[in-house]
Amino acid sequence: MEIILGKYGELALKGLNKNAFESALIKTIKKRLSRFGDFRVYSSQSTVYVEPQNESCDIDSAYDEFKRIFGLIAVGKAAICEKNLDAISRCAVSYLGSELENAKTFKVKSKRADKKFPMTSMELSAEVGAYILDNYPHLKVDVEEPELEVICEVRDSVAVVHASQERGAGGIPNGTGGRVACMLSGGIDSPVAAWMMARRGCEIVGVHFMSPPYTGEGALYKVERLAGKVARWSNRFPIYEVPFTDCQVMIRDNAPEDLFTILMRRSMLRITQMIAEKEECGAVVTGESLGQVASQTLKAIQCTDDVAHMPVFRPLIGNDKIEITEIARRIDTFDISIEPYEDCCTIFTPKHPRTRPALDLVIKAEEEMPALKELEKAAFEASIFKMFRFDDEVSL
């Protein structure tokens, strides 16, 4: 029988609270795989087993989904068989037949979780290897750099045979890291930042600023699809769409032009914190990367964080664009992010924004706009809530 296997990542290192992490992981797997059929999901010895319960299970689609489950460092498909040498050998040859046929070199690696098994790992590897060589005489054993690794694991009740596994989603299970509010512009960085926090187990809530009539349907449609893509990993991704035009217009009309960007960032952060409080989030997340643009210099970040009354996480702060792009491609947001629609950040931007804004000047400029806070509150109250789930059409 073919099953799916997933190896715990750092979950395996948890101490007394390991159970809580494990049950969160199993719960997510069950929820995410249920639309592909009836699967039995259980864990044992830091490995998750997913067993199809009948013929109608779509194991390929389930496996595809499984690769997006946080908390698993390595994933793969495997065959299970009785735990005796004969069964393991035959299983290796029949299950990995086409791989063995195509490889030139191989090795067998055995692991015994059940130490009562009558053979040592070395003996088991040697015997299974000999059986494989009998069936595929063209193969050579190469213990250093084999093309194919045949792994036999003797577990408590069964033996498991598989080839090398693929990289899993990594991180820790959904729902174990608290809630955070992620600012989401529609560019390349912010969905990646949200995904990284989700990978650390956080429930994510998105905050998108829109500037109608200067930004259009296109920007919103973009953000909605991005949210859908991230939701494929995070289970769900609710989004608040905040009408931000009035705040921007007030800043443009009443503050020095070169401080526009930094004042706008402070305004956004204040509104995001209102949403964070409403949603019981413990932190704000942004996609900023140090020095990428004027608002992301050290000085500018200092000026923005001056209004923060909760932690502001910037998971990409030390990443180069190329590294961020790699993740964006992996999570399938890149192609959407590069669509050309303007977002609110590019409206009214000054020709020469201040890269080293002075905090006292920024505060002074804000004091001259006493009505700004009211507009921010109005924007928060007028924001539109939308929910995106891993199985929504927009996510697929």
């Binding site: 195509n102 259009g216 349907e217 296109g218 699809r225 697929l396």
Partner: protein, 374 residues
């Protein structure tokens, strides 16, 4: 009217026509436009792409819209072969491909590629080993259809692709699935690199096709312009027909159930004419039930075709694309001239009823009697 020429084209589902009309009327924006009318069109295209991807069993990002199956075949074959020119020049095609594949391969021969043609076996089937024996390290492309348009010969192209990759993993594999889409499944699990399908064979409109391109598969584009379809197929998207094709996919129903029904109809048809002394079966026994190719010895195809037409039954002689020309599939099978000259193709759809095929069989019998040379 009993329409049994569904391999040529199909009737457009009324709901499909409605969707097309409403998109033409109400959502005429260019999907590349930034205002909401454009976004509306873009959403229609995206939704349709996702729907078709689900039916094909692939990711929406792997679905590229073209104008027809022929264009899809051209793009896939020219694009894949040309972009691999640096390391190889051998192209392998089956001997029973649609002209949009055969003639495209012929044009590659003019560009200097070595084109190897794999003839069908005597029974009309293609042998997988026949392909594999030719695949070598210089082979840039293998192309094979899933269901032959004239005889219905079925080839397990997913398996063939897998085996080709086992010999040379750089070889591109293209599958023409125009006659099989929504009729037989084809696993897109990484071995098939590109696959063509068409809208009008599944009760959608003519003028819309899809090319599946496996994520990460590289090929040279053959059309230049505004960069639509990720640069692979420039030209303003045919939003209405894209929506129409998606609607047809949605309406046509489950592959397995249709296959069962069409199988029953095909057997009724064949069982009621197989014992006539003039009738020979040209389709392989294992062919797709959607296509039944026979010869009525002594009766020229076109004469019989027009007789059946007068009885309200529409069938074809060979494939519709070749108009009165001799069937190249039947010739490739080395059938005698009298078999080829008297061939008739009945092609069914999920809409065909048992009564339809019974009436068609009776009409054929009447034709044999009426047209008999006394």
């Amino acid at each position: 009217m009993i329409y049994l020429d569904n391999a040529a084209t199909t009737n457009v589902f009324p709901e499909v026509a409605e969707v097309i009309a409403s998109v033409l009327r109400d959502s005429f924006g260019n999907p590349s436009s930034l205002y909401s009318l454009g976004i509306e069109s873009k959403k229609i295209v995206d939704r349709s792409r996702a729907q078709i991807a689900r039916a094909m069993g692939c990711d929406p990002s792997e679905v590229y819209f073209t104008s027809c199956g022929t264009e899809s075949n051209n793009l896939a074959i020219l694009g894949a072969a040309r972009s691999r020119k640096a390391w190889g020049n051998k192209v392998i095609v089956s001997g029973i491909e649609h002209p949009s594949v055969q003639n495209t391969a012929a044009s590659l021969a003019n560009e200097g590629f070595e084109v190897v043609v794999i003839p069908p076996e005597e029974d009309g089937n293609l042998s997988i080993d026949g392909f594999l024996n030719e695949v070598d390290k210089r082979t840039v492309l293998v192309t094979c259809m899933r269901v032959n348009n004239e005889t219905g010969a079925l080839t397990d192209t997913a398996l063939l692709a897998k085996k080709v990759k086992e010999i040379n993993r750089r070889t591109a594999f293209h599958c023409d699935a125009v006659q099989s889409f929504m009729k037989h499944t084809t696993a897109l699990d990484g071995s098939i690199d590109s696959m063509s399908v068409s809208g009008h064979k599944i009760h959608g409109p003519k003028g819309i096709g899809v090319l599946y391109l496996r994520k990460g598969f590289s090929l040279e584009k053959t059309q230049f312009g505004g960069g639509q379809e990720k640069g692979m197929r420039s030209g303003t998207e045919n939003v209405a027909y894209i929506a129409g094709m998606a609607k047809a996919v949605e309406l046509i129903g489950p592959v397995r159930k249709n296959l069962e029904h069409v199988g029953i109809c095909r057997n009724i048809l064949w069982d009621s004419i197989r014992n006539l002394p003039e009738v020979r079966l040209n389709s392989p026994e294992s062919a797709s039930p959607y296509i039944l190719n026979i010869s009525v010895l002594g009766y020229r195809s076109e004469t019989m075709l027009h007789f059946l037409e007068s009885e309200g039954v529409f069938v074809s002689s060979g494939s519709a694309c070749s108009k009165g020309e001799k069937s190249h599939t039947l010739e490739a099978m080395c059938l005698d001239d009298d078999r080829v000259d008297s061939a008739l193709r009945f092609s069914l759809s999920a809409e065909t009823t048992e009564d339809d095929v019974k009436t068609a069989a009776e009409a054929l019998k009447k034709g044999i009697k009426t047209l008999e040379r006394k």
